[in-house]
């Protein structure tokens, strides 16, 4: 479906954590891409590897213990995993920027907003004068909808509310006009009314500036709200990928189906929520068979011993489940697995 350029392409990425209790493949051979100006969501529960994926792209996996142990991360065709430290620093913040979950702690508490904004400019655009940088910073703060932007430059992070801080984070991330913005749970720590503002802002910036956004979240609502395409991760692997509308209408993987139905819907009251039995696996605990098999009610022998591939079930839809092998199984996702 996508004719535009793939600005970011991840191929067979594997990120492993080397701990005292063994090697944990937090991200296990995942492949996906992000096209120009696209908003893609990576959704999953805790420990599924979504954050490690984003940190891997940024080259910020805490090392030790983490390390990229395989695969490629192609940005405009350049493999980021092979870059030197210095080359990678030029990409970071300049071509690919990132914002984080905790606006409360993601800004350095001891430096003014202005200082931190200008720093971001100075790193990549050393030709700019101090005055120009300041103007640019103020302009960005205005762009993200912050009132009294120039006065704000002199404020310290603790003088700002969470929503304002997240706007500052976004302004700071976008100050060097990156082509890709990775947003790791950008609204999780915020109140709903503020979340709505931030999501709207991100969508607007995506439209106005053409910045491609990789949105990492656990909240299906947020995904539905702004993403064009969704990648579902479970236990370090991608288990399903589809355009948002397709995924919500026709979720294929039993996990995706369960997840969607677990969310209490504000629009109608159900007597009883669907719930996936069992617990979210800790990273690295399930290594053979389908990662979801222990919680899957469709699981059969093969699921325990063999890990399914990611089957392409339609042009735009991939699912890692034996039920979709050779696309024999067609189901109506709306009511198949509900109520039982």
């Amino acid at each position: 479906m996508n004719e535009s350029k793939r600005i970011l392409e991840v191929k067979e990425l594997q990120t492993t954590f080397f701990t005292d209790s063994g090697q944990i493949p937090a991200v296990d051979r995942i492949s996906f891409y992000l096209s120009d100006s696209e908003i893609v969501g990576i959704v999953g529960e805790s420990g599924c590897g979504k954050s490690v994926t984003s940190l891997s792209v940024m080259g910020l996996v805490p090392s030790p213990p983490g390390k990229i142990t395989g695969g490629e991360i192609l940005y405009n065709g350049r493999d980021l995993t092979r870059l030197t430290d210095k080359e990678m620093r030029r990409i970071r913040g300049n071509d690919i920027a990132m914002i984080f979950q905790e606006p409360m702690t993601s800004l350095n508490p001891l430096f003014t907003i202005g200082n931190q904004m200008i720093e971001a400019i100075a790193i990549h655009q050393s030709e700019m004068s101090k005055k120009q940088s300041e103007e640019k910073a103020v302009q960005m703060l205005k762009l993200v909808g912050l009132p009294r932007a120039s006065a704000l430059m002199k404020d310290y992070p603790h003088q700002l509310s969470g929503g304002m801080r997240q706007r500052v984070m976004i302004a700071m991330a976008l100050v060097c006009d990156p082509k890709v913005l990775i947003a790791d749970e950008p609204t999780t720590a915020l109140d709903v009314t503020i979340q709505a503002q931030i999501l709207q802002l991100m969508k607007k910036l995506n439209t106005d500036l053409g910045t491609a956004i990789l949105l990492i979240t656990h909240d299906l609502g947020v995904v539905a709200e702004i993403c064009e395409r969704v990648i579902v991760m479970y236990a370090g692997q991608i288990i399903e990928e589809a355009p948002t509308s397709v995924l919500f209408k026709d979720p294929q993987h039993p996990y995706t189906q369960g997840l969607i139905q677990s969310v209490p819907d504000m629009r109608l009251k159900k007597e009883r929520l669907y719930s996936i039995p069992g617990n979210v696996p800790k990273p690295g605990t399930i290594l053979t068979g389908c990662r979801f098999a222990p919680r899957c009610k469709f699981a059969f022998d093969r699921c325990i011993s063999e890990n399914p591939e990611l089957y392409v079930t339609a042009d735009v839809h991939q699912t890692r489940c034996f039920l979709y092998e050779e696309r024999k199984v067609k189901m109506d996702g709306n009511n198949t697995f509900v109520d039982s």
Partner: protein
């Protein structure tokens, strides 16, 4: 509906002093809970929603008298909780239990689950050790764990399991009312559903009454019979949940509901985006606390505090948009139910 409510709260206030200066002089108050009144009927679930800092958690703690209220009275099961002595309150607490957001922080890491669950029984005078152990095992099964789990320590459990333990502990004393403060917000979506279902099952089984405090509007709707919306220490709207979600009256409630992302990309709703942040609770605006962000702000909103007035049966709202018919007296509300 002639039954008296299990819990009736009238004009409850909790103000925290703000101290400053050389001698710790009190220069102002944060009105964390500012004159709220509501009731909870036997066997129902009252949801309390609001954004961070609105006073919903403080309300929960004041009801338990974990925090001493500044003013107001709390009628629980025929007793006025505010007038009880510390000892009487301690005894009464067996009837009111709390479930917290972070069960890990409230479980002593050095005690086994068995010991943790036994403790409330000892505190409330159940002397027979064998009987206590039996009860612990029963309740572990009730919340979906196993009897052998009693020998384990909190760190050996996942978040969802720990929340089950937290619930089991609350149930040990056969309480009438459980105040659950954000019980599922730390859990993964798939686990959250398990815990919500469990809570509903238990409510039926043990005829429990819940006060369910949360910021997730979807979760609150799912579990609640009636829902109250708080903003900056005030209760701005309270109604049966169906009615509140379908026909929200207060502009804040409307904004709140429209802000929630719905996991359905094809669902297009009319969005009421409100600007700005919640004001500083230490210096709330005059008049209606919401007027700084309200799209329908009128002159009167900046001067007069709107009273919570019943507009439809069981649906009260504190907003100048809806005139002043009716009576904000809580007794009136009870009578009309």
């Amino acid at each position: 509906m002639a039954t008296t409510p299990l819990l009736t709260v009238r004009n409850l206030k909790k103000h925290f002093p703000v101290k400053k200066g050389m001698f710790g002089k009190t220069v102002g108050h944060v009105k964390a809970v500012d004159d709220i009144s509501f009731y909870v009927n036997h066997g129902e679930t009252l949801g309390i929603v609001g954004e961070s800092g609105c006073g919903k958690s403080t309300t929960g703690r004041v009801l338990m008298r974990l925090l001493e209220p500044t003013a107001g009275d709390i009628q629980f099961d025929g007793k006025d909780l505010t007038s009880l002595s510390a000892e009487e309150m301690r005894k009464t607490r067996r009837d009111i239990q709390m479930v917290f957001q972070d069960p890990y922080a409230s479980l002593n890491p050095r005690h086994t689950i068995g010991k943790i669950l036994e403790e409330p029984l000892i505190v409330h005078g159940m002397s027979d050790s064998i009987e206590r152990k039996k009860k612990v095992q029963d309740f572990l099964e009730v919340v979906g764990l196993h009897a052998f789990h009693a020998k384990r320590y909190p760190h050996q459990f996942s978040g969802g399991q720990r929340q089950r333990i937290g619930i089991a502990r609350a149930l040990m004393t056969n309480p009438k009312l459980i105040i659950a403060d954000e019980p599922v917000s730390a859990l993964d979506v798939s686990i959250q559903a398990q815990v919500l279902n469990l809570m509903q099952d238990l409510q039926k089984e043990f005829n429990l009454t819940y006060i369910f405090i949360a910021h997730d509007l979807g979760v609150v709707r799912h579990i609640s019979d009636r829902v109250g919306v708080m903003y900056l220490g005030k209760l701005v709207e309270i109604a049966p949940s169906e009615q509140l979600y379908e026909k929200p009256m207060h502009p804040y409630t409307q904004a709140l509901l429209s802000a929630v992302p719905v996991p359905d990309p094809d669902f297009h709703k009319e969005r009421l985006l409100i600007e700005g942040d919640m004001p500083d609770p230490a210096a709330p605006p005059l008049g209606c606390a919401f007027h700084t962000r309200c799209p329908y702000k009128m002159e009167i909103c900046t001067t007069d505090i709107p009273q919570l007035i019943e507009q439809h049966t069981g649906h009260s709202v504190a907003c100048h948009l809806y005139g002043s018919q009716g009576d904000n007296d809580i007794k009136q509300m009870e009578g009309s139910l």
